[in-house]
Symmetry: none
Subunit: 211 residues, 4 copies
Amino acid sequence: MPAIKKAIDLKRRSPRRANARATVEAIFEATARILQSEGKAALNTNLIAERAGVSIGALYGYFPNKDAILLAMARRELDLVRDRVADALTREANADIHPVRRAVRALIKGYGTRSRSRRILMETLFAHGGSEEMARPVNEIANLILMRSGDILPKGATPPSPIGMYVLTRAVDSVIRTATYENVAFIGSPAFEDELVRLVNGYLSERNRAA
Amino acid sequence: MPAIKKAIDLKRRSPRRANARATVEAIFEATARILQSEGKAALNTNLIAERAGVSIGALYGYFPNKDAILLAMARRELDLVRDRVADALTREANADIHPVRRAVRALIKGYGTRSRSRRILMETLFAHGGSEEMARPVNEIANLILMRSGDILPKGATPPSPIGMYVLTRAVDSVIRTATYENVAFIGSPAFEDELVRLVNGYLSERNRAA
Amino acid sequence: MPAIKKAIDLKRRSPRRANARATVEAIFEATARILQSEGKAALNTNLIAERAGVSIGALYGYFPNKDAILLAMARRELDLVRDRVADALTREANADIHPVRRAVRALIKGYGTRSRSRRILMETLFAHGGSEEMARPVNEIANLILMRSGDILPKGATPPSPIGMYVLTRAVDSVIRTATYENVAFIGSPAFEDELVRLVNGYLSERNRAA
Amino acid sequence: MPAIKKAIDLKRRSPRRANARATVEAIFEATARILQSEGKAALNTNLIAERAGVSIGALYGYFPNKDAILLAMARRELDLVRDRVADALTREANADIHPVRRAVRALIKGYGTRSRSRRILMETLFAHGGSEEMARPVNEIANLILMRSGDILPKGATPPSPIGMYVLTRAVDSVIRTATYENVAFIGSPAFEDELVRLVNGYLSERNRAA
DNA sequence: TATGAATGAGTGTTCATTCAT
DNA sequence: TATGAATGAACACTCATTCAT
C-alpha cells in the first residue's frame, strides 16, 4: 500500500443495496479463492474485483482499502469457528459424546477448509496488531468452559488457573491449526481426535493430582 | 527525472569488507531490525542494504532475491532454537531439573527475542512451501525425546504413538509461540513454565493410565 | 528514502483523454521522437510516458511492455509503406509514369522520414524473430507485380522465377533502405531514381535475353 | 551504459602479454557465441568475461567499455569480408569463372556464418554512427571494380556513374545480407548466385543500351 | 598485470487508489 | 451508485564499471 494509509477500520458505506450483502459475499469469495489457490502475493484489488464480477470502483465502495477486506474476512472466520465450538460445547444435540471431544471435533472441522486462505487471513489480522482480537474468541471459549465446568471438568476438580486455561486452550487450538497448515494426513482421523482429548484430560487430571 | 546525482562525486568505498560472513550478518541484522520495528510491508532491499551499510549490488551478490534473505534467516532461526532445545534435553549441566522443564525453558528463552521478526520469518518460510522444513526441527526433537525416553518419560511408560508425539510436541511449541506473539505478560513466569510441564506430564500419565 | 513527495498535493488529472487512439498515437509519436533524436539507449518507458503526456500506468494500460510499443510501431510502419507502394503500383493516377518508377518513388518517399527511428523499429522487430513478418510486405508487393506483370514487365517477357523476384524486390527495397540509413545526399535526386529503375529494367531485360 | 560514457575508440592498453592476442580472441569468440545463441539482450560484460575464461578486470584491460568490444568485432568482420571479396576479384586462381560471379560467391560465403551475431555487430556499429565506416569496404570494392573494369564490364562499356556504382554494389551486398538474415533456404544454391549475377549484368547492359 | 567483490544509477513494471462520467 | 481509465509512488533487480589487493 504505497499511498496514504487510511484508518482501516473505518467503514466507508453501510451497504444499502438490496444485494449489497451479495456483493460483499462475492468479494469475500473471490478473495478466498485467490488466496487459496494463488497465495497472497497474487492477491490484488483489481483481480478481486474482476473475479467477483464487480467493478473496482464498487469494491472501494464497500471497503476503504485492500486490507480491510482481509480483516473483515478474518474476523468473520474467527467468529464462525468460535460459534461452532461454542455450539459444540453447549447446544450440541449429541449428549453421548463428551463436550471436550465435541469441541475438538468442531475445531478440526472448522479449520478443515481452505486452510491456506485462512492462514493468510490470520497472518494479516495479526500483522495489523490484531493479536488481542485473535485471542478473544479463544478466551470466550475459555470462559464458556469455566462456566460449564461442571459438565466438562472431572467431578470435584478445581478449575484451572487463568494461565492454565491459556495453556490448555492454546494448546488445543494451535495443535489443530498447525496440523491443518502442515496438511498432515491424519487430520480427521479418530486417533488424532483421541490424542487431543487425551491432552486435555491428562492436563486436567494432572492438575487435580497436584492439588 | 532523477538526474545524475553524483556524477563525479568523491568515491566513498568503505574499506573492502573483511569477509563474507560479516556482510551476511549485517544484512541479517538490518533485516531483523526492520522487520521487528517496521514490519514486513516496510521491508525493501534498498532499505536493507542501506541499513546494513552495504551497497544494493553487494546485497544481490550474496542473495539472489529478497525472499532468499528471509528464507535463510528463517532456517537459521529454526536451527538455532532446535539446537538450544536439543542441548537442554541432553548436554545441559543442571541435572536437578527435569529434562522436560529444561526443554520448555529453552524454548521460552529461544522464542523470547524479536518475536515479530521471527514470526514474519516463519510466515515467509511457510508461504514458500516450507511447512515440512518447519516441521523438521520439531520432529528431530521428538526423536531425541524418544531416544532418551528413559530419562524423560515416567518409569515403565510406553512411549507415545507418532500421532501422540505430534500432538505433544506441537502443543508445547505452539503454545509458547502463541504466547510470544501475543506478548502475554506471564511469559517467563514460573507459573507459565509449570503449566507447560504439567501439560506434558499430564499427557504422558494419561497415556499410561489408558494403557 | 524518496519520501512521500506529494501526499495531499493538488490532483492534476488532465481531462480524461478523449479516446484510446489518441493516447496510443501520443505514445507512438513520443517514442518515435526519442528514437530519432536520442536513440534506442535513451528510450525508457517513463520517458515515453512523460513525453507523451500520459502517466506511466496509462502507458501500461495500452501496452504490456516496452517492446510491445516498438513492435506495434514497426508493424504499422511496414504496412504503411506497403500500402503506399501498392497504391503506386495500382491506383496511382499518373499514367504517364511507368509503374516501376512510381513504386521506386513511393518507396524512397516512404523511407524518407525519421529514418533512425524506423531503422531501430525494424531492428527490434527483427530481434524479436520478426524476419518473416518483415518479409511479408515485400512478398505482397512481389505478388502484386506478378499479377500486374502485363503492365510492368516488358512485352512478351516471362515473369521472373521466385528466387528472381526475391532478388529483384530485395535489391530495390534494401538499396533504398541503405541509402536512407546512410543518409546519402542524392536520395530524392532524379539520378538515384533513374539508377534504380535501370536496375530493375536491366534485370528484366537480361532475363529475357537469357531465355 | 548508465555511467559516464567514455570515448569508445580510445585504446586502453596495447596488448603486451604474449597471449594478449589470445585473450582478445577469447573475448571475441565468447561474445560472438553469446550474440549468436542468446542475442544482444543477454550480452553483458560479466558473462563475456566468464565465458572467455578471463576476469572482468582483465576484460576492461583490453577494452575501455562494452561497446568497444562489439565495435572492434564489427570492424574486423567488415575487413574480413572485404578482403575475401577483393581476393575474389583479383587474386582468385580460377580464371574460368567471371570475376562478378566470384565476388558474389565470396560474399555469400562471407555472410554465411553466425549471421545473427554479425547482424548485431553491424547494428551496433551503425548505432554508433558508423555508417560511413560500413560504407567504406563497399566503396573500396567499388573502386576495385572500376580499376579492373576492363576485366569486369562488358567490352567497350562506359563505367557506371558514382550513383550507379552505389546502387549496384549496395544491391548485391544487401540482397545477400537480407537473404542471410532471413535465413532463406536457397542461399548457397546456384540459382541464387545466377540471379545475382544476372542483376549485375543486366544493370551494366542496360546502362550501355541507354548510352 | 590480474582479480573479482563492490558500487549504485538506472529502469521496467505493479497495483492500490481516485474520480470524472 | 457503478464504472473503469488513469494516476504515480514504490521497488526489485541488473550490470557497466571501478579499484583495493
